[in-house]
Symmetry: C2
């Protein structure tokens, strides 16, 4: 277990105030995805860390990110805006920029998940996975992923190696696995927003080499309990190259903590 | 069949230029939802009609709307911005305002769906519904919905009346039905973005009186063929009152044309 101050995620998503509704950050090359560019979930986390400072409520509960251009390691700025601050929910916007280029635009609504005291009614359950100790580290024996560094930050465990990892895609664009930070940092709502984009795209099981995110919407449903997170990802509809990817994260206590859908394009 | 110029939808979502990246509109009381306020999908369509004028590509393919305040019949303004115009996709923002209050903020990426020529791979199919002619008009025999006018604009047909319509919710937060404009206007991508929010919330089948949308993300997957649209809506996870609602629209040719998820709160 590490503290907030010594995890790589906290260090690499840190923002510093630089005027009213303005922050600076430094993107690193430690979260690179397929293509050798900073992962979209990582960029989103940087933007959310800045926006969270300006919002009057603690938890990002619904977040939409439009990916405008690839990011690159180096300096970045985040401009934030509070669009409306209500008693129960508050909505803001963040623009992550590098130089004179906007990289990601984020629209996010915050609330206090500890104050969510309405009805609960569930129609689905967590993925049925063997304990992490009885699963394989997916990166241990996987095909090489040139340029990818994010797999050094996260640990993925599955009952059997996924098809893409062995060079034999299954043809079924669905995956289930355990996920956590390799350095032992536990997840929180902003980390969940990064984690929904941190794994291999489900379309790798269709033999595709990758997936370029156009937009990502994340619902954070609860603050996660410490420990391993059970994940399920599926792409149901690839149409003319465009596809959605749905992702669910369930915590170690069996609660659904995040649900996301992204709109993406085959390369 | 009506033309673009005489459908109520076209009249009531019309925008007029009012300077650079600024438009005026007049919201009507013909699209009121539960609660007697303009439906969120209708507000989104007004914002998209303005934004579409400024975008260099024709089809809104992924749209996120944050609902900040309820709208009201009367004058409205839409401020638009092109965040990035690429060759294949272009992203913009629209802010729908009334007086000095922002009502809805929209982040949308446009593309040309006719140019989507990549791979297609489907894992699901359209709802299995009897032909519309053999279905019931859901509003014919439904419980009264005080203040609701949107049901005069859209026609809903289902094999059996849904539980909420007969005052006997089923306890299963899932619905399937046919949908079209009552005046015969065919759907297009902007109409689809309105239609995903135009039906009874799935949580009515849990005995809930309604659902307040916080955020709505729509993926438009194809330009729809003329005729009836087959819809499926489901809420799988209500947690502390917060819930998602997933909505799919399949056209008369059997193609998935829109897919949406909203994040909402029980009243």
């Amino acid at each position: 277990m590490t503290t907030m101050t010594d995890s790589t995620f906290d260090t690499d998503t840190r923002v510093e105030p630089a005027g009213a509704h303005a922050y600076t950050a430094t993107l690193t090359d430690r979260w690179d995805a397929l293509g050798g560019v900073p992962n979209g979930g990582y960029l989103l986390a940087v933007a959310l860390r800045a926006l969270a400072r300006d919002m009057p409520l603690p938890d990002p509960v619904v977040v939409s990110a439009a990916y405008l251009r690839p990011g690159a390691p180096g300096p970045a700025e985040v401009a934030t805006e509070v669009a409306r601050a209500g008693r129960r929910v508050a909505t803001g916007e963040a623009q992550l920029r590098q130089g004179d280029k906007e990289i990601v635009r984020v629209l996010a609504t915050f609330a206090d998940l500890e104050q969510a005291n309405g009805r609960t009614h569930m129609r689905s359950t967590a993925p049925d996975l063997p304990a992490p100790e009885r699963c394989h580290d997916v990166m241990d024996g996987s095909v090489a992923l040139p340029g990818v560094s994010i797999t050094d930050r996260f640990e993925y465990r599955a009952p059997v190696l996924p098809g893409w990892a062995t060079g034999a895609p299954t043809g079924e664009s669905e995956l289930a696995f355990w996920l956590r930070f390799r350095d032992g940092r536990d997840a929180d709502p902003i980390a969940l927003a990064a984690m929904v984009d941190a794994a291999a795209p489900a379309v790798l099981e269709l033999g595709e080499p990758g997936s370029a995110t156009i937009e990502l919407t994340v619902h954070v449903r609860a603050r996660p309990a410490p420990g391993w997170l059970a994940c399920r990802t599926v792409t149901r509809h690839v149409i003319g190259g465009y596809h959605e990817e749905d992702f669910e994260i369930w915590d170690s206590a069996g609660a659904l903590v995040a649900q996301s859908r992204q709109f993406a394009l085959l390369p």
